[in-house]
Amino acid sequence: MKTDLTKLTITEAHEGLKKGEFTSVELTRAFLDKIKEKDPEIKAYVTVSEELALKQAEKADEMIKKGEINVLTGIPCAIKDNILIKGVRCTSSSKILENYIASYNATVIEKLEKLGAVFLGKTNMDEFAMGSSCENSAFFPTRNPHDLERVPGGSSGGSAAAVAADLCVYALGSDTGGSIREPASFCGITGFKPTYGTVSRNGLMAYASSLDQIGALAKSVEDARIVFEAIRGIDKMDSTSTNLKKENDLNKLRIGVPKEYFAEGLDKEVEGAVKNAIETFKKAGAEIVEIGLPHSEYALACYYIIAPAEASANLARFDGLRYGKYSEEDGGEIIDTYLKNRTSGFGEEVKRRIMLGTYTLSSGYYDAYYKRALKTRTLIKEDFEKAFEKVDVVLGPTSPCLPWKIGEKSEDPLSMYLADIYTVSVNLAGLPGISVPCGSFEGLPIGLQLIGAPFTEDKLLSIASLFEKNHDNN
């Protein structure tokens, strides 16, 4: 029987390409066919770049013939629709950018292109990365491949669903408060958010610049590592980027389990799966240390001040004049054009976050909200610093709940925000975090989150790998 090429990991596909078992064009066609067959029900892609993908695949096959193969050459991937690929439509799943064609490449795209990557298309997301379910896309919700009635998580929900449904080998996403890890958890795959600054944000549409980070969604920890190694590094176009890297000094593995992560609001199915994961680490010889992250309960409130505040500034650039939507009507003043374009171009959640940020930054409220949030952020960061004096990684659930039914939480923004309760503090403190599958309940995947100290991704990934090898997800 011929193997299904769409099921391969990066490492497996690379072996096949290297040995000449199949070409990149064949591999790419297998994915394009599968997208045609399955994406109408999953709806992971906003744009499929078939022509570009086949051109890149041909180029990759030439590279391979010449012996210029590296591990990502000829491997088809999907890119979240807030990362620019020159000449390809880039919408951030927003009406205001519905017709925007990217005029340059993001740095991560340049890097992948040089390695001979193949871009299958752009994936659906919550508009401007604001959401945890992909329901805030201005175009359509993406469906969870494990249950089409349910959300895939968000905001990188299209990327997660595409990986889980074998509509690509791996995908890029962005993570501002959990937007890679939570959908990875909901879709039963691996999602890795590196330390703030390790991957250039040039060409990523900014949501909250002090929190945003690009990372990989993949079928294994090893694949996530490969993609991270390919896209990391200092970039002159992003002055916050860095080459910093801490050595992997792992002797006796110590895992920190914060008592605050097992409090009220955690689904018992999720709790059970995460406790099983702890057992796996125990059996593998790790020492389990109970730790305290006393300011955890303030992380979400802190995040929902800082992220909207930064968003209100970042999204001020969208007026529909230099790119995107434009109202053709004459008459009135320029302010009317701004109002018209922004009001019809942004969705409800985006408007609310822009207004919330404008409010907390405005005169009279700045000290009470924004300044307090910046101070709380310091306390959250210090909690982790103290923890990492005692442990190598912090372990907990990625999300407190299982993927919910589409529409179930759309009327109450707060109930949706709560899905991010374990992920936002990682962005506030700028840490690397990874979600790996650790079980399921009635077919719905459950993710385990491992959090590392800044710039210890080597250690974090090797611990995640150890877990992946030793844990039985059933």
Binding site: K236, Y369, A373
Partner: protein, 98 residues
Amino acid sequence: MYMVSEEEIRRIAKLSYLEIKDGEVETMREKFSSVLEYVKKLQELDLSSASETANLSQAENVFREDIGIEKNSEDLLKALSKRRDNYLEVKKILYNED
């Protein structure tokens, strides 16, 4: 629950360059207020001795040589909503107050 007033919602919308239609004000008020109520949780904390963290970047004063980069401006100009030669055409932006 504390509710932001309708006037306040309209004021913030104006500051944000957004228009809230009459039929949408109530929903916006409710959802906006519920999030605001939640983030007020930070008032519980004693933050008198805490420093502020606005950014985690360890970089300070990143310098570069002041050199021009060759770019094809046509790529950017193509995206303009209304173009005249190499300019973006917009409505009048300066006018008398009266």
